[in-house]
Symmetry: C2
Subunit: 528 residues, 2 copies
């Protein structure tokens, strides 16, 4: 068995709880900056003190070892509530701050926590949804004065004034967080994640990306996302790096924030890169300290364009809430590949009957852990979904991919986004890649739209570059000479921008209409 | 990937449905005897015809592809109902004929079948338990005349007179049977088993044991047990062998039946061998054609004694309802080992945190399938139990074992039967093995009994050889010189016979009393 060298050098063993990891880091670099946010700064020692006080606060209120729900913006307080819950042996549940109404209430109810941590703004949203058993609410800023008498309001001062608790020993295989999947289609699943996945996963990322003391993460990722929790926060702790927190990703202020914070690293997705590439090139494009981007899957074209323009090395990693990171960049990883399987996982590409496919063939990406507790323990209150995902004792991702002859994994697309047209499986990402090479397009998305004859037809939604007057007819003609006939989109829609989730992932479901301003090749050219 | 040679030679591919397997066998040896029972005989062609008529009967009654419950004695009709259900694409549920009352009703309800196949005797037991949705009952003998009007009684003649159906294509990964675990402790689990497990599992057994056309199985195993279904029936089909059915195992008539049927092979457990060894040796001990015993785990002492006395080669295989066979005998397997892992499985011995243990160390036997659908699909209506058994994507058996340096697996005992005495884990099988070497004991069992001070104390239940007047004091003294002090039983009970299940497995739960005739070393010698 292989262990991540930076991690074992830090903790002196092959795994640890989040609390043990933090303690080891604090012992090593107590005075290094850990969190910077809105002009304030916490060293590792100061954050450790805050986390221990949070654990002490939980003890004092009979909440040690329990579930703690956070509905917070990106903030140091959010991190202290997580670390404090962990130090007390409890489970942290971060709710996506973008949620509202029935969806938010469902996630809140399912968290089954007695304590909610939020702020005044958050309370306006979540307050009306509080389940009756959640009787205590901790506010990180001011306590509102319109609270119902059944709610016990607690002020952040009671955290700051609490006696720091001694960390509780906690098995590396025990539950660290309940984390909801994004649920872009269907109900979010509650994923039970063990300490070991965070600690070893971060160890491998530090090993592969070379993060170190002195690195500063441009930290825009929500803490309700595995990227914010593991790829950024835990990775920074293993490396001894600093988190420069910003409220959210902003294409407009990204570079100013990066320069202002002296950021050397960032986490992102392909769509984030595409958004940043849409801005006109300028003389400041390389005026920054960004050294490396930790990217979850990107096409070779986007990688090359971004690296060339901004001078930032981009390295691909692949995974999902249930298991991160599944692959790691290694020297020689070709553009468009997400690297080799992490030593903690056996990764395979399987066919519909769970039989392994040879190199080059596309199928479902599946995996088995090589060691215990490096992946989810299961979907909470949904053992049926867990068993389904674990068929034949493989974890079945939702993604299609292929291995090349050198053993590099190539992510193709989500299984459910593959377009099935007249018996052909069409990869949305392959269609998009062709159109991204068209000089007049800034971004695009391919989706399947229902069709009574073909099952599905291909639709392209394209964002022309500023000043372009490209017409769907031009794009259709381009497609006819650049891709197989069965892949050529029948429908083409031009738009000013594509719709994204709060972490910059494309909302494909919103793009499947064919009415109104959508150009139809059949109507334009007549049936063949 | 490796495939079982006799199977692929027969079916021309690496797996098949049960129906396809049977068809391939019938095409090869249509006129070989397949089933002998109570003076009647069916060739493979005749059994194929009967199975196709059963499938035709199901079609005619709107039951094709459905679940069929059988509550039958060992019989050709039971087999035809299984094969017929399979040929129609349905699922066969065999209920243990030994069950009664509430347990039987529970299993019957959970089977969720609309058709019950039974006989007059069975109807007396199961008739009063019929759930309302089970409206059709097929009788293999006479139809009782006291049926409620809500029950539609069908006679076996309607099977014999049905037009033979064409077999329905059926994916090798689809459900073939619902099979209940023995449930000696707690409620039986309903195990959903795919066709592939039966077909490939039997292929490996034929490959390892060398079964062939002309072999005759002494077939006493209930068809409600995986041994009866897979190790005997399916194995016979792959080999082209004959099943000589007898109603049940009988220590008294075993050898007469074996001689009468010209049996060359049998399936059994260690306890069966021990029962046969209890009989006094005689001149007829080697007057039979038995060539090989297919044994599910046996101590070296029993193996050696049986082989030496009866001249039958015994080969060990290990598995459980959820996955069979996990190990296979290979040349050089040492006595007391159950062989090497089947090529279809990766087998590991893991510690409590699912970390692999080195050769020599005892831990839980766990496995992962190397190919799809060679094990259960899950526990029906119990996904929680499935997820628990599949933690870290290993299937966790209930058994303790160890690998030796040559890679042979040694079964030690059931995890739950290990006795935990004052911090020491005591293997019941190791205690039993020592006492089995005592010249005056015919059989014995070690169990843990609750103790307020030690957690558990060791109790031995021993069956003296006929004519022996051995006293517990003698056995205690023997133990003191033959085993570690912490293993020496405090309680010893002498008895005439041990309690066994219908397939000859020891009922340990019935042996844990310490009152009445039980000798207590503490009372006899005073506290130390």
């Amino acid at each position: 068995m292989v262990d991540p060298p930076p991690l074992t050098a830090l903790i002196g063993k092959d795994t640890a709880s989040i609390g043990e990891l933090l303690a080891a880091r604090v012992a090593r670099t107590p005075d290094s900056p850990f969190i910077r946010c809105a002009g304030r700064c916490w060293t590792y020692a100061e954050a450790w003190d805050a986390a221990r006080r949070f654990a002490g606060f939980l003890q004092a209120h009979g909440l040690a070892g329990q579930r703690i729900t956070a509905f917070l913006p990106k903030s140091p307080e959010a991190l202290f509530s997580w670390f404090g819950a962990s130090l007390s042996g409890g489970v942290w549940v971060a709710l996506n701050r973008a949620h509202r109404g029935a969806v938010l209430k469902d996630l809140l109810d399912r968290a089954r926590a007695r304590l909610l941590v939020t702020d005044r703004d958050g309370w306006q949203i979540i307050g009306p949804l509080l389940p009756p058993e959640m009787t205590q609410v901790l506010f990180t800023d001011e306590v509102p004065d319109d609270l119902a008498p059944s709610v016990r309001a607690l002020h952040w001062a009671s955290v700051l004034n609490a006696a720091p608790a001694e960390p509780v020993a906690c098995a590396p295989g025990s539950v660290a967080t309940l984390l909801y999947t994004s649920g872009t289609t269907g109900r979010s699943k509650g994923v039970l994640l063990p300490h070991t996945m965070y600690v070893r996963g971060a160890g491998w990322l530090v090993d592969s990306y070379g993060f170190r003391v002195g690195d500063v993460f441009h930290d825009w990722m929500p803490l309700s996302h595995i990227g914010g929790q593991l790829h950024v926060t835990m990775t920074a702790i293993v490396a001894g790096a600093c988190l420069a927190q910003v409220p959210a990703f902003s294409r407009r202020s990204f570079w100013d924030e990066v320069r202002g914070n002296g950021a050397t690293a960032f986490f992102g997705f392909s769509s984030i890169l595409a958004l940043l590439l849409e801005a006109p090139a300028g003389p400041d494009d390389r005026n920054h300290a960004l050294r490396v981007g930790l990217i979850g899957s990107m096409p070779a074209e986007v990688l090359t364009a971004f690296e060339r323009r901004f001078g930032v090395r981009l390295l691909d990693t692949y995974g999902m809430t249930e298991c991160e990171p599944l692959t790691l960049p290694v020297p020689g990883t070709p553009p468009g590949s997400c690297g080799w399987p992490s030593p903690d996982f056996k990764v395979a590409v399987l066919d519909q009957e769970d039989r392994p496919l040879p190199a080059g063939a596309a199928g479902r990406i599946c995996m088995r852990p090589r060691r215990p507790f490096v992946m989810m323990l299961g979907y909470e209150a949904d053992p049926e979904a867990t068993v389904e995902a674990w068929r034949n004792l493989w974890f079945h991702t939702a993604d299609r991919g292929r291995f090349d002859a050198e053993g590099f994994l190539h992510f193709i697309d989500r299984m459910k986004y593959a377009i099935r047209r007249g018996g052909e499986n069409i990869s949305t990402s392959e269609v998009e890649r062709v159109f991204l090479s068209h000089p007049e397009l800034a971004a695009c998305a391919a989706v399947g739209v229902p069709d009574t004859v073909m099952g599905e037809e291909v639709k392209l939604i394209a964002v022309p570059r500023p000043g372009s007057d490209v017409h769907p007819v031009d794009l259709h003609a381009y497609a006819l000479t650049h891709m197989a006939a069965f892949m050529v989109p029948r429908y083409i829609e031009l738009t000013g921008a594509l719709p994204y989730t709060d972490v910059g992932k494309l909302k494909r479901e919103e793009l499947t209409g064919t009415g109104g301003r959508v150009w139809d090749a059949r109507a334009a050219t007549g049936p063949k």
